[in-house]
C-alpha cells in the first residue's frame, strides 16, 4: 500500500516537474509546479511528517506560488520562447538533455549501491517524528538562534523586495 502510494505520488511529482521545465506558457508552468508541490506533500505524509506536509502547502503552494502567479500576470509574461538561439545553436539543447540524463543516471546508480535501507516502523520512532510538539521544542531550544536569524532574514527580504520593485518616480 505504501509502495503504491509512493509510486503514484512520485510519478505525479516527476511528470509535473517535467511539465514545468518543458512548458512554453509561464502560467501553465506555475500551475504544474503547484501540482508537483501537492505530490511532494503527499510524499511527506508517507514519511510520517504531517507538519512538514502542511507547511509545504501553506508556504510553497499557498504563498510563494501566489507571488509567482502575481508576477507572471503583472509582467504579462505569456511570451513564448523558442529554442535557444545562442552561439551554440539548438544543438545545445540536445547535448544538455543528454548530460542531464547522465547526471540523473549517475546519481541513481550511486544511490542504488547503498544497500537496502528500510525505515523502522516501531511506534515509538513514528510518534517521535510526527509529533508537532517535539518539532516546536527543538526549534525553540536547540535551534533558537537560527530561528531568530531566519525571522530577521524574512524581514530584510520583505523590505528589500518592496524597495527593489518600486517604480522610480
Amino acid at each position: 500500500m505504501d509502495l503504491i502510494s509512493f509510486y503514484i505520488f512520485g510519478a505525479i511529482a516527476v511528470l509535473a516537474s517535467l511539465g514545468v521545465v518543458g512548458q512554453r506558457n509561464p502560467m501553465h508552468s506555475v500551475m504544474l509546479l503547484i501540482v508537483s508541490f501537492g505530490a511532494l506533500a503527499g510524499l511527506y505524509i508517507l514519511l510520517d511528517a504531517p507538519f512538514t506536509a502542511v507547511t509545504q502547502i501553506i508556504i510553497y503552494a499557498g504563498a510563494i506560488m501566489v507571488l509567482f502567479l502575481f508576477v507572471v500576470m503583472l509582467l504579462n509574461a505569456h511570451t513564448e520562447d523558442d529554442l535557444p538561439k545562442t552561439a551554440l545553436g539548438p544543438r545545445a539543447l540536445r547535448i544538455g538533455i543528454v548530460l542531464s540524463l547522465a547526471l540523473g543516471l549517475e546519481v541513481a546508480f550511486a544511490l542504488s549501491r547503498l544497500g537496502l535501507t528500510t525505515f523502522s516502523n516501531d511506534p515509538g520512532t513514528v510518534s517521535a517524528i510526527s509529533s508537532v510538539a517535539k518539532i516546536g521544542t527543538q526549534l525553540f531550544t536547540t535551534h533558537a538562534f537560527a530561528f531568530e536569524v531566519t525571522s530577521i532574514l524574512i524581514l530584510v527580504s520583505m523590505v528589500g523586495a518592496v524597495v527593489i520593485a518600486r517604480k522610480e518616480s
Partner: protein, 345 residues
C-alpha cells in the same frame, strides 16, 4: 461475498462521508434561502414566498434556472484555466470541512463493533490543514480573474486575492492563540478541552478566555470569505460582478456554492475553537451534533445579518484596516495569551 476489508465500520464511515457531503450542499441551498428571507425582513418586505411553503424551495428553483442557462465562454480566454478555476474554488471549500468534528463517538446503538467518530477524518495537525486548504482557495479567484481576459474580472480577482492574503495572517494568529490554550492542533482535542463548567454555570468555552481572539477570528473570517462589509471585490455597483463577471450557468453556481460553503466552514471552525463544538447543557452526549448545528446556524445568521446592515468598506480602507489595525491586535493577543499561559500554568 464481499472482500474482507469491507467491514460494517468501513461501510458506516463511507455512508457518514456521503451524508456530510450532502448536508454541506443542502446547507448551501439553505443559506441561499435564509439570506433572501433575512434580507427581505430587514428591508421590511416578505421575500420569496411563492415556491413552496415560505419559499423554502426557492434555492432549488434557482439551481434549475442556472442549469438551463447557456454556458458562455469569452473567445480570448485561456480555456483550461477558465474551466478549472471554479472547480478549484468549490473543491477547496469542501475539502476544508473534512477535519471538522461535530459529535462524539457513536456505535449506532450497538450495531457497530467499534465506535464511529462523527467526522470525515481527524489528523493531528487539523488546524493547520484548514489553514492550508483556505490558502489554496485563493487560486480559484485569481485564476478566474486572469483567465476571463476582461478588465473587470482582472481587477476584481486581484483585489479579492490581495484581500484574502492580507487577512489570512490575522486568521492564522488567532488560530495560534487558541492552539496555545489547548496544547494541541487537533480540533477534536480542542473541543474536548472545553468541556466542564466554572462555578457549575459558565461553560469552559474559549470565547470567555479569548474574547478578542474570537472577534479577530470572525473579522478575518468574514474578510476571507469575501462577505460584507468586506465584499468590495464583488461590489455590484463598482465592478459589475468582480472576478465572476464572465461566468454563467454552472460555473457561476460553483462559485456561489464555494462562497457559501466557505462561510459554513468558517462558522464550523469558529464553533469548534471558541464555542465548545458539540458540548451543551441539556441533551445527552450522543445528541451533541444538534448543539453543533444550532451554534453554526447562529453564526451564519450573524453573517447574513451583518451583510444587510453594514455599509461596505472601501478597498484602501479595507487593506489599511487589515494591516495596520487587525494584525497588530492579533499579534498582541498572541503575546498576551502566551504570557498568561506561562504565568498561570
Amino acid at each position: 461475498m464481499l472482500p474482507a476489508f469491507i467491514s460494517p465500520n468501513v461501510v458506516a464511515h463511507a455512508v457518514l462521508i456521503f451524508i456530510i457531503f450532502n448536508c454541506l450542499v443542502l446547507s448551501a441551498a439553505f443559506m441561499v434561502w435564509m439570506e433572501r428571507k433575512v434580507c427581505a425582513y430587514i428591508q421590511d418586505r416578505p421575500g420569496p414566498n411563492r415556491v413552496g411553503p415560505e419559499g423554502l424551495l426557492q434555492p432549488f428553483a434557482d439551481v434549475i434556472k442556472l442549469l438551463f442557462k447557456e454556458d458562455l465562454r469569452p473567445a480570448a480566454a485561456d480555456t483550461f484555466i477558465f474551466l478549472i478555476a471554479p472547480v478549484i474554488s468549490a473543491a477547496t471549500a469542501f475539502a476544508a470541512f473534512s477535519v471538522v468534528p461535530f459529535g462524539t463517538e457513536t456505535t449506532l446503538f450497538g450495531l457497530l463493533s467499534e465506535p464511529l467518530r462523527l467526522e470525515v477524518t481527524d489528523v493531528n495537525v487539523a488546524v493547520l490543514v484548514i489553514f492550508a486548504i483556505t490558502s489554496m482557495g485563493i487560486y480559484g479567484i485569481v485564476l478566474a480573474g486572469w483567465s476571463s481576459n476582461s478588465k473587470y474580472s482582472l481587477l476584481g480577482g486581484l483585489r479579492s486575492s490581495a484581500q484574502m492574503i492580507s487577512y489570512e495572517l490575522s486568521y492564522g494568529l488567532s488560530l495560534a492563540a487558541v492552539v496555545m490554550l489547548a496544547g494541541s492542533l487537533s480540533l477534536r482535542e480542542i473541543v474536548t478541552n472545553q468541556s466542564g463548567y466554572w462555578f457549575h454555570v459558565i461553560p469552559k468555552w474559549y470565547i470567555f478566555l479569548q474574547p478578542i481572539g474570537f472577534l479577530i477570528y470572525m473579522t478575518a473570517g468574514v474578510a476571507e470569505t469575501n462577505r460584507a462589509p468586506f465584499d468590495f471585490p464583488e461590489a455590484e455597483q463598482e465592478l459589475v460582478a468582480g472576478y465572476h463577471t464572465e461566468y454563467s450557468s454552472m460555473s457561476f453556481a460553483l462559485f456561489f456554492l464555494a462562497e457559501y460553503i466557505n462561510m459554513v466552514t468558517v462558522s464550523a471552525v469558529a464553533t469548534s475553537l471558541f464555542l465548545g463544538g458539540w458540548l451543551g447543557p441539556v441533551l445527552p452526549e450522543w445528541l451533541g451534533w444538534l448543539w453543533f448545528l444550532l451554534k453554526v446556524f447562529l453564526i451564519l445568521f450573524f453573517y447574513v445579518w451583518m451583510r444587510w446592515t453594514l455599509p461596505r468598506y472601501r478597498y484602501d480602507q479595507l487593506m489599511e484596516f487589515g494591516w495596520k489595525w487587525l494584525l497588530p491586535v492579533a499579534v498582541l493577543n498572541l503575546v498576551v495569551t502566551a504570557a498568561l499561559v506561562i504565568w498561570l500554568g
